[in-house]
Symmetry: D2
């Protein structure tokens, strides 16, 4: 259709397929129709096209909206959905009327607008999934504020903490992810329509009117930037990739905790698979796939950044190849968040094992060193050395933490400091007890049950507020869509 004037018809199907975006465009079908509707309403209002032509075109668009994307021919030689829609409208009206559809707009501004409209809904859905995951994490945390578990650094048991403390750590990171997605959504929520090919038009169009009909509050002002900018997509994929990196960290811990060696959680059957050959296996498949997705998202991000690198301003067809990376990033993240959310809603800790591990690995050594500082007046570095020596000796002699007594500590003192210290057996035992140790950790943000409950409540409020915002945004979009359709129907009648 576009080739009548300037170019000979294409002859090679493979080439059409290679350069066409038709397949990926199905995803933006609905916004493309809405954009055409809004644009025609504005053209009619501004008297750029006659009311009756507008009505005829809107009738065709409305029919298309009702029948859905199946009504279109999606052959690659039509290049893209924009041409397929125009072809439909021309067929439904006639060349003279339908040919006016493309007045004062271009595929360049239209595709940018359609991507943003699809994206803003997708981002709301991703945010909702993320907030649900956070919700499930803190619900589980709430039940486990007193579930003692080992805290690890370098995958070495470090200090005792609680399962709740761990879950809240992940939830806190996810909340920042939600904020990054929210910032990305803001950046995506400007309307490029009216930029036309790259330099606007001499028709007296009203860009703000089209933007509002499509539920946008702002326009992307500079018209070259409006058609050629894709940093909103880069920012979105970045935010999604960072969020999947955070997911992968939780997923990796689930794989670890579910191993026979850690044995600290029970992976519910629905989230595990067995082996085709080894019948005793309970493979943490959801967690593994979720872990892998951080790799895939990083790949999507790199692909998108590399496509944009050193590309001259305004529209180049390279941009077409970026879009599928964006949709894949959205889909993978949303599905992963939903799967992880379900998983976290079903997982069960094994408190006895957790506690056992916390006590058996000298995790309370720091607390003992701190006690030496407080009660026996040692400098921290000396206390650190004394406790370290006691532990080294116990490891060498295969002595369990529970078998240690004040005597072992005194022996280590004498070796390191050349003298004993004054500490009672009771003080020693209290410092050496995981539960007491955790309760003593009253630091803001720390694991003491009272403190962690504060964190949970704060997170819950934060989730609620963000959920409200997400719902409000979704409602505003739905309202704009309904209103647009009503406007169209009014004009079509």
């Amino acid at each position: 259709m576009l080739r009548r004037g300037r170019l000979k018809p294409p002859t090679d199907e493979m080439i059409s397929e290679y350069t066409s975006s038709m397949r990926a465009d199905v995803r933006i079908f609905k916004p493309v129709v809405q954009i055409n509707m809004a644009h025609i309403i504005m053209l009619a209002e501004r008297r750029i096209i006659p009311e009756e032509d507008a009505a005829a075109i809107l009738r065709a668009l409305h029919e298309l909206h009702e029948r859905g994307v199946e009504a279109l021919e999606l052959r690659p030689e039509l290049e893209d959905i924009h041409m397929a829609v125009e072809k439909f409208v021309i067929a439904a009206t006639d060349e003279e009327v339908g040919g006016k559809l493309h007045t004062a707009k271009s595929r360049n501004d239209q595709v940018a607008a359609a991507i943003r409209m699809t994206l803003r809904k997708d981002l709301l859905e991703v945010q909702a999934a993320l907030l649900e995951l956070i919700g499930n994490l803190i619900a589980l945390a709430e039940k486990n504020t007193r579930t003692i578990m080992p805290g690890y650094t370098h995958l070495q048991v470090a200090e005792p903490t609680t399962f709740a403390h761990y879950l809240v750590a992940h939830a806190s990171a996810f909340l920042r992810d939600a904020d990054r997605l929210s910032h990305a959504l803001e950046q995506a929520s400007s309307c490029p329509m009216g930029a036309c090919a790259l330099a606007g038009t001499s028709f007296p169009i009203d860009r703000m009117r089209v933007a509002r009909l499509l539920g946008f509050k702002h326009i992307l002002e500079n018209t070259i930037d409006a058609v050629g900018g894709r940093d909103f997509a880069l920012q979105t994929i970045s935010a999604l990739a960072i969020s999947m990196v955070n997911v992968s960290r939780l997923a990796d811990e689930l794989v670890l905790w579910g191993s026979a060696e850690f044995d600290m959680i029970e992976m519910p059957d629905e989230f595990a698979a067995t082996s085709s050959i080894m019948p005793q296996k309970k493979n943490p498949v959801v967690a593994e796939i979720a872990r892998a997705k951080a790799g895939r998202l990083t790949g999507n991000l790199v692909g998108a950044l590399a496509v944009m690198k050193a590309l001259p301003q305004s529209y180049n067809l390279d941009l077409q190849d970026l879009t599928p990376l964006l949709w894949d990033a959205i889909d993978q993240t949303r599905d992963s968040l939903k799967a992880m959310s379900k998983l976290m809603g079903a997982i069960e800790p094994k408190p006895e094992v957790m506690r056992e591990r916390a006590e058996m690995s000298f995790a309370t050594a720091t607390e003992l060193a701190d006690t030496l500082v407080r009660r026996a007046g040692l400098a921290f570095r000396d206390a650190h050395a004394v406790v370290g020596r006691m532990v080294a000796r116990a490891v060498k002699e295969h002595k369990s933490p529970r078998a240690l007594s004040i005597e072992d500590l005194q022996a280590a003192c004498r070796e390191i400091l050349g003298k004993g210290i004054s500490l009672t057996e009771k003080e020693f035992k209290e410092a050496w007890d995981a539960e007491k140790c955790v309760e003593a950790r009253g630091t803001l943000g720390g694991p003491a049950p009272k403190v962690i409950k504060g964190q949970i409540n704060q997170l819950r409020r934060a989730v609620k507020n963000r959920e409200k915002l997400v719902r409000a945004r979704a409602r505003a979009i739905a309202k704009a869509e309904t209103k647009l359709l009503k406007d169209v129907r009014r004009r079509v009648r």
Copy 2:
């Protein structure tokens, strides 16, 4: 020093070098000293260590602050700057007093805090450089609101526009970069101190007090998250990488425009190099290096994401390997922005060549098609086909755009539509004139001089506001630093 108790001394220099962060730590020396100061003040205030010990330690820290990083032994077997500082303090006081420096803190929270303190200054500097670049772009734009140049899509001349319109397009993208950096700065501006190794402490510390002494408004609450989270770094590198992608697009256009074929700008000598062998060359070296940096930054981002992927929560030494990627990302971006800023302050367009190109490549074809719609009542698709046919014929017959007349248009009409149209020679000529065409493009965000001036003014205000904010933030940090030093001096006296 740390190995007295638990581990035998290391014997292998190569291994020390491999696992030590000493070299990279020089960059965080100053904040590490400040953190130690603030921490000691808090410990004394909370009576966790005696006033006189605090004074002795602060005296040592103050001396270190005065003498600078050169006062430290930076041998890799000391592992990192944190141990080097502690060693210095112990040497300057004695084991019993200096050994108290590490009470209720850990290298895990300290390094996270020091990175964030360094980063918040770096990000302000990057933002300032970016705002200066935008300033230079719009200053140049202001001088060129009537400099007609071809607007390109697909690197094909599309429609006439102005040099100002192009420059403002880049400036608009950079302004979004500034906002992304600002959001990254917010995320970085929380204080992890007090998280200790990962689970806080049983000493009655005051995290907010330390945070405020260090110029932070917020703390990173959950202590596991506080030591193990690096999404602030991922977000920062993302924002920097996206910004360098935007820089690379400008840089690529400068390379193009400076080629003999485009010949649309004069690259000032200071920003070009000649060849060692070809004496006539004027190579756009600044633009080329700036273009390449988008690749490097993408690499930094990937490195950082991949390091974090699937890493269990809290501190793992892998995090140490992420930090140099962050600093490199900052340095490369800051330098690139400064170089590009200077370049854009010096570059000169060649208006005659630009205009010539805009007129010689049928750039006004769209405007002519629009005129056919407006004046001759054609549907846009028909007008598009007619003008396309006229252009195809002219190209085939090697006829220049300027040589075309209303007759050529009528001939094309007859071929396509089977009839002529009513359009005067004057209407034809006006549509075919690049300058008139640009003036007619009064769309919001378009190239018409009046319209672009509005965009420039708006951008200037936006830059001013952000510059104010950047300065205010820098002042607040400086004030906190001064205050901290004053507090230290008061206690040391």
Copy 3:
């Protein structure tokens, strides 16, 4: 089916979908059936299962082979194609017989083998496409050994060369790509079957027999490595990505050369698109898409590397998420090579424009400097300075290269060296002529027509040899497939 013993049935469709590889597995259907056939033949030969059971199973597999993948239920809750095939066989025989299919094998070795079998064919196809592209490049080069064009460095005209010289440069790089793909193919061509889950089996299987039945010459020996290694995939995607980077460099030059400013090639209509709004445009869409693919491939590579990073040995489900990245990398590269190959077979240079550009941009300056060295006895650095000065003055005075004479050179000499030189007008003119300059460049690998013809002939032989190899490898695989089917049919009768 697998869950009868150990796990409760899954209840959540979304979770099945998330963890199932069913969709992507369609691509490996054929090899999966072949592997099952080869495995059963070996089991029967080694008397691990009875002949009659083998015959029954082979009958079912043969039927499946005939009916194709449509015969299978591909529901995600079956997890993957391996289970779907087993289900089919059990249904076609009965539980007692069909249940023997999985004796002494696992999905872990089977999926690795199936990926490698699919990949080796794919790689041969990619190689063939690459060799065809090289063929088209050198065919075009052959026609253009005397087509003078400017040689660029830094996108600045540097020295005159020929179109053939440029095309051969690209062809040379692509030949190295072919070698990298060939090395990747070698690495992929080992058979993991018999590794079972990760530790082989106590059944007396014959791994070499299965390998040979499947057309492999080698087995992947260590069984943990055999199921867990994916470096063959990483190496393949690397080779493909590097090759697409080379493609992107050619594609970018096509975009440049096809611009109105360079205007050095005619993009055939079938490989260009016009604008929906600007009728005069001829957008180089194939080249743009091909350029973008280097970004996408880089993303695929990163995704795959990041998935594998820090994954414990042997099989983890993360590996499943790598496979689609591999197939996408193959498909994108193959399609791009085919499209570029067609494009290079159709493109036409514009020799007059090329020559004009070569002469108008002082491209022969180096030759003139060299002449000063040879004829006038100047040191190269001095000659370089003299010619540079002459050019600088000409540029300043808007004097065209053709307007320069020996007098301008002498003037520059006097300025730089304080004296004139002895050079005749004829010597000056010869050095200043692009065609003569090119002919004089007789350096091995240089642009002189005689020399470039040698390069072309050498490349042609290299392509022929590699094409033979590709065909031989494809034949060997086809032969093994035919033989396997014959074996099966013999046993089924």
Copy 4:
């Protein structure tokens, strides 16, 4: 020096610093001097410059070679090492003589040659480190062919295997890495000298002669490709990155195995660090850093690919920004391989713990299912279900694997199949014993001690062969260097 003719002197230090490669060039100093020597020898032999000038220049170069890089001024405004060397030579001879140094060459071919010369040595060193790591792995394997340990898939205990089997798996992957590095080395080992700026020269140079003087067997023929191709660097970084991914998988397992939960290896003190706060910790710092490097290398690779993407052929300054990524990739990999090699030479398994874990996690379940197939005539799927049920019941009833008897199996049989099976208690016990199970795994490439010894011997031979090759290549380079210096000295006398 270069700017005398064409350009005004640069005024801005920051810009010089930004565009200069001086800092990174120190690494290529030695080959740059050698290239200049070889080039001058050839120029003299071909009578392009007089013998006495050649002697004077060689004398200067020889002096520079003796004094080292410190003899040069490395100010950024000299742009790069090539100009610094030329400046040195001119100062040591005089303008007229030293000015001849740059006859018939360019920085473009020179820098490409110098990078390749540096790289071929670096790659040999990396290969040597890799082969040493393999050597240490198989030495450790040899001592542990009977050290039973659990084999994992999905980090779930799958089947019993041996520590040797695991180590050989890693060694096998590393051997492929060595082959990839070897292929990269081949691609890097062609000489670009004589390509000059991009189009050769009209001087009658002898490219093969220079190549041989520099120890190359081949030249990179096409001169545009010779200066503009960097796929050898991309291939090298790819090979290094894949190798570091393989390293990261071993490193991650070391971290796991060294955790208190797995507790299967003893990390020697020299390779661990303790905590600044938690005295009992023994952090696996070498393994953590080595794990992180796979991320960094992936970043380097992406940076390099993205720099090259869509870059026009021949030299662009962007290439300069790729080189530091190459050197960093080399350095990080070499250091990591050396550190891991030392670590693997020192690590000690804990055989009792390993064996205990192998027996306590139902790892022999597959062997039992296989036994049911062999002895009791069950189809594998049925056997799989029966054993699965027995395990599920044991887990539910907290029954240890060792406590299970033939009775439990019969009970599961009856539940699943509705009948018992005929298997003796002895057969049951044998199948249930980890050591017997491992011995039975006689599959080629499997864990049976006899079989694994075969793999070890084969690997040892492969390592020996490759070490010989590496040494031979290093010797050939050293010989060429010595010969070149001798030639120079002969001419200088």
